[in-house]
Amino acid sequence: MLKVKDLHKSYQVGKETYRVLKGIDLQVEKGEFVAVMGPSGSGKSTLLNCISCYIPFEKGSIKLGGEELKDLDETALAGVRNEKLGFVFQDFMLLDGLSVRENILMPRIIKGNVGKEGEALADRLLEMFGITHIEHKYPADISGGERQRTAVARALMNSPYVILADEPTGNLDSKSSRAVIESFIQAKETLQATIFMVTHDSFSASFCDRVILLKDGQIYKTLVRKGKRIEFQDELLDEIKEMSGEE
């Protein structure tokens, strides 16, 4: 489904060049739920932004459903973003002028087909995330967790192939976190959605099929879940400890 090959990205600040991603290779199969973990500043957000082509990168290839994103023109890329990708940002990126419901409907509005079906889906998502009671409120008047749930609901609106989520549970209490993760799992199961999520939280990560550990812009290790969730969480905690202990 998603195939990243030899991805390189560096930032230019003044005269200095900071190499952030130093050759990332990864592959996510359809219907897989993958998490990326790693210390702060290791390039997780950068990786997600590159995958969605929000930022340019120097070298590498990104294939989504066999389509090379690098070769697409802007219009085609916009279409991909709208229909095939769902994105949850670290800082929500809701439109402050629109209500919660309208924000959730946004991908459909852009596509130009809200319709009865769209409204119904919005109702379902609102209910699923427990935000029906605030559907007419505006982002400025709701809590961080509510905003996050709105953002996740929006990402699910167009039934995307791949959901890219940057710390979707970062601002949530454990109950809401669970709701988000469960919604991902539900999307995965009912829509065969592929989920690629960045997280700090080993609890959330432990729900995944696979966890990629990122360090200094390179893949440090990939852990595959074999057994129970609790065991996987412990394994993750140990690995993370080991990874940071090496320094």
């Binding site: 932004n49 969605s52 082509c53 929000y54 930022i55 340019p56 802007e74 219009t75 916009a78 279409g79 991909v80 973003r81 709208n82 229909e83 990708l85 994105f87 940002f89 990126m93 809701l94 439109l95 402050d96 002028g97 629109l98 309208e102 409907l105 946004m106 991908p107 509005i109 852009i110 130009g112 809200v114 409204e119 929006r154």
Partner: protein, 703 residues
Amino acid sequence: MMKNMTDVFRMLRSYNKKNYRLYVICTFLSTMLITAFGMMMYAPTVRQVLPEGGDSRKQVMMIFVLAAVGCLVFVIYGGSLFYRMKSREMGTLMALGTPKKVLAKRLLSEMSALCLISGAAGTMAGVGLACAIWQIFRLCIVDSRQMQLVFDYRALLIALVFLLFILLSAFIQGALFLKRTNIMEVINESRRSEPVKEVPSWYGIAGVALVFAGAVLGYGHSGFFINLFHWYPPAIFNILYLPIFVGLYMLMLRIVVRKGSKRHPYKGIIARNMMKFQGRQTVNNMLVLTVLLAGAAFGIFYIPMMGTNLLMSTKSWEFDYQFRYRQDQDILSKVDLYGLAKEHGVTIRDYSEVPVINLARDGENFVEDDNNKYHYEYEEMLEEADFISESGYEKITGEEISIEKGCFGVIANENTASYIISRDVELITNVETGETLPVKFKEELYHEMMAGRYYVLNDEDFDRISRGLSDEWRETLVSFRVDKDKYGFANALFNEIVDHTGKECEFPDYYDRVVKMRDERETGVYWGDTKEATKISFADRDSSDFRLYWKYMPQFRELELHDFVRSLAVFLMIFLFIAIICMAAAMLIAYTRCLTIAINSKQVFDDLARLGAGPRYLFGAVREQIGKIYLVPSGIGFALMYILYLMIMYANDGSFTRNELLGVGVCLGVVFLLCGIVYAGYRYTRKKVLEILGIFTKTNTKR
């Protein structure tokens, strides 16, 4: 229920009303000011008072261009602010997969609608403003038939061109905004800042040095080349003024990012660092502010300088009336004159009639070579000069003088420099008989009214050299005083004189028959007869050109005062208007800049308040920032203009005359007034900023 992108954009618009309002205000005010200015520039009265190609017109145009550029910068700044505030929203829409075409279409149609509506409203308001100001001037100062404001479509053309500029800049900004492919950059645009790096301390000194260098080079270079190399530098050399702007930029950069003192390294650290963070933009804004405020000062200074000069010089006239006419002209006789006076209920006294002769004088002729160089050649018959006799002078002035044979005196006042009337005359020639007379400069005679116009000869010399001279080269100079002077009489007499003067005297002051003879002999054409030379016409006898340049223009105090009030009113209006435009543009820029700073740093202030900073401390930080934005440009702008004026006054004649000193004094008062206005603007802005930041209000830590 919201169903499509049109709805989305409508809702976002209503949510972001403030952004739109700011941009609309920017374009509205700029087009209003520009339109009003254009209306003013195309009014016939203004065109008459500021003749084409004259210095005043050039200066007004220069300031107009400055103001227009200022307004444009203001609009561009408003546009960039607009896009900046919109960037997060646009970035989000892009990230959600909205095609750029859709965004571009929406954004550009929004922008054009905004520009067109506010521009059209601004244009109408500008017309209204011009009419209103004009009407106020008519009511308060002077009302004559000439003071009429005629609606000229060319003024609208200026507004239209300006509007197109605004649209163009909005489109270019929009295109640049949408062109970017880095969506994260678009999203984070509103948080981006361009901090200024440390500026070395020599920047301040170097800046001041550059400003001075620019002023000296720009102002002095032509004199330098003319005097030393006998070469006229072309206009491109005016780029020598450029160091002024570079210097100003460096100086301001230094002021903005100055480090704290050694003793109190943390004093004012908040304000300093915040300024530094908004560095480049702020300094750019401050530079534009400085230029605009200097323009305002320029406009305002013009009025007292010109006013005091003119008013003082007519006050010191010895006679109420003095005029001269060629003796071949059939001008009214003394009897007619007394009759006319009687008709108007005016009594004439101290009447005198004195003969004047026009001779040729010798001197160095200025010869232009190729490539802008020049040299001098001696000519026996260089140009016309007007002579009266020793006894004639005594008759007019009642003052006893003695000019020896072979000598001459020059009538002067304290303003009469040697280029106005030469002291280096050694030979004079009767043009018709060829008779010559070698002469030597003896003394200066002081007379305000005749200053710079006449040479005085010994009676015997005068008789000898004028022998055989026809009436074409002879004039009569009439002087008198009156009791109970009236404008009606002055005007009637002026018309009488013009009506009785023939076509052969319908030429301007610089038209010189001696030069004409030589030129026609040497090259076949006299420049004064070509199309290039300014012409005057009896039909336009009320125009400023005619009154300024007609060779036989009478000097009537009442007429002059009346004219003066009329031209002064127009000047007053134009320059006041320039000042208003520049001031308004400057204040608006400063205000918006400060509000941006406030909005951008709200978070910092909230955090500081939560960390326990008291309102006093926060107020200090606000004051330091806002204060700098107002104080630095106004201080530098006004001081620069003032010094420039002093320089011009001094360079004119190498000293300050009484009138100039008076004008300079009045200008100082004007500076105080302007500072008062700036201060009022500063106080208002500060109040608004404090409101935004919630300092000194009850809801101190409200977000």
